[in-house]
């Protein structure tokens, strides 16, 4: 479903990604861990071209999105993204946050979009907040709305960029719950996170990134139980 070949990314002279190769199957739950500055967020942001790769190829559902002629907007409709800082639209209600893109991109009529938005809000437990504005929500609620907003486009793939890092500790759980239920429904997910518990429980494959490459990958049991790479070992020692 996602194939990445020899992905490089420079910011000025700084090489952040130094050749990432990976293939992700439909329904996989990939968890990306690693120290800060390891390039894991940049890798994720390259997947929907929020960062333009300097070199390399990315294929989504067989289509090369790094090709110059590729319609990026079309591809992005199939990939939801959840940000660390939620990035809800503050001038719109929760309902409008969810329905803006589907209506603008002619995925649905207004009534239809609102109906499915309510179903999504119910799923994340925030049906009663449909008419609230983002400022009235807690961090955890905002992130759940952000997830619902991405789901409103009915994506095939969901990308999560440290979705719980900006949350108060007591709100992390509610967001992870939503992500877990999404995983159980078979969504293809790529999650950059520092939540090792989540990585272990939900991930079917864990990537350890450091210095712009995937140092080690494997099942959660392999990575957390018997890491082979020294960098992986020392990182896990620090965070577990």
């Amino acid at each position: 479903m996602i194939t990445v070949k020899n992905l490089h990314k420079y910011f000025g002279n700084l090489e952040v990604l130094k050749g990432v190769d990976i293939h992700i199957e439909q329904g996989e739950k990939i968890v990306v861990i690693g120290p800060s500055g390891s390039g894991k967020s940049t890798f994720l942001r390259c997947l929907n071209l929020l960062e333009t790769p300097t070199k390399g190829q990315i294929f989504i559902e067989g289509e090369e999105i790094t090709a110059p002629k590729c319609n990026v907007d079309q591809i992005r409709q199939k990939m939801g993204m959840v940000f660390q800082h939620f990035n809800l639209f503050p001038h719109l209600t929760v309902m409008q946050n969810l329905t803006l893109a589907p209506i603008m991109l002619k995925k649905a009529e207004k009534e239809e979009a609102e109906k499915s938005a309510l179903i999504l809000l119910e799923r994340v437990g925030l049906k009663d907040k449909a008419n609230a504005y983002p400022v009235q929500l807690s961090g955890g609620q905002k992130q759940r709305v952000a997830i619902a907003r991405s789901l409103a486009m009915n994506p095939d793939i969901m990308l999560f960029d440290e979705p719980t890092s900006a949350l108060d500790p007591e709100m992390v759980g509610e967001v992870l719950e939503v992500m877990k239920s999404l995983a159980n429904e078979g969504m293809t997910m790529v999650v950059v996170t520092h939540e090792m518990g989540f990585a272990r429980e939900v991930g079917n494959r864990v990537l350890f990134m450091d210095e712009g490459v995937i140092m080690e990958q494997g099942t959660p049991d392999e990575i957390f139980g018997s890491p082979k790479n020294d960098r992986t070992k020392s990182f896990l020692n620090k965070v577990l």
Binding site: R76, L100, L105
Partner: protein
């Protein structure tokens, strides 16, 4: 003393219907200000969008260059001279100075409004653009539906200030024989050899309009701020 004042008021404003000078002048002042601001907002928005999108897209660099030339020339020269250049050189065929003044002040104001809009757009967190794009919206759709509504709300007070500044700046249209409030007062002075009443009177009218605008603005600002805590 009192009789003298009444007599002065009579000669300055009532005799030979001189108050019409003031009324007509005021009308022109307001017309020039209002339409110049409209033009200024349109030009300002376009220039600001050119500059902002040129930052993102290297291919649009030429737009940035054009915008910079415009901003430098307009902000680097006196508005009176710009007006005279429009009226006596560029549009030398024009008979009526009022439309020329509207154009001249509009083009002038556009430069200042452009900077207001640009700072307003750039003040919006980059995450808003990223969120919009990640949903599949195009750059211009995201601009229109997500960035600009937020930016516009943020810059309304600054736009109001520009409106007030523009209102006062229009007092120089007399240089291209535009008949505005200031020119009206000046004409009365020339006809009556009395300076105090017409000049101070005109100043008071400007002051009152500015005070009304200021109070409307602060009320608007308060309304907008409440919106943040809806």
């Amino acid at each position: 003393m009192f009789d003298k004042l009444m007599a002065d008021i009579y000669t300055c404003f009532i005799d030979k219907d001189r108050y019409l000078e003031i009324i007509r002048g005021l009308g022109n002042t307001l017309i020039i200000t209002f339409f110049a601001l409209l033009i200024g907002i349109v030009i300002g928005l376009i220039v600001a969008l050119c500059k902002v999108s040129a930052e993102k897209n290297k291919k649009l660099k030429f737009l940035d260059v054009i915008a910079n030339v415009y901003l430098t020339v307009i902000r680097g020269t006196p508005v009176v001279l710009q007006l005279m250049i429009w009226f006596y050189i560029v549009l030398a065929f024009a008979k009526n100075p009022i439309p020329v003044a509207i154009l001249g002040f509009g083009v002038n104001s556009g430069a200042y409004v452009a900077e207001i809009f640009r700072s307003g757009i750039q003040a919006i967190d980059n995450g808003q653009m990223e969120a919009g794009r990640s949903l599949g919206l195009s750059y211009s759709q995201t601009m229109r539906k997500i960035i600009l509504p937020q930016a516009f709300k943020n810059v309304l007070p600054a736009l109001g200030n520009e409106f007030i500044a523009l209102l006062k700046e229009t007092s120089v249209v007399g240089y291209i024989s535009g008949h505005d409030l200031t020119r009206g007062a000046y004409n009365i002075r020339n006809a009556t050899y009395s300076s105090f009443l017409p000049l101070v009177g005109a100043a008071l009218i400007y002051l009152i309009i500015v005070m009304i605008l200021t109070s409307l603005l602060s009320r608007l600002e308060r309304r907008l701020r409440q919106g943040d805590y809806r």
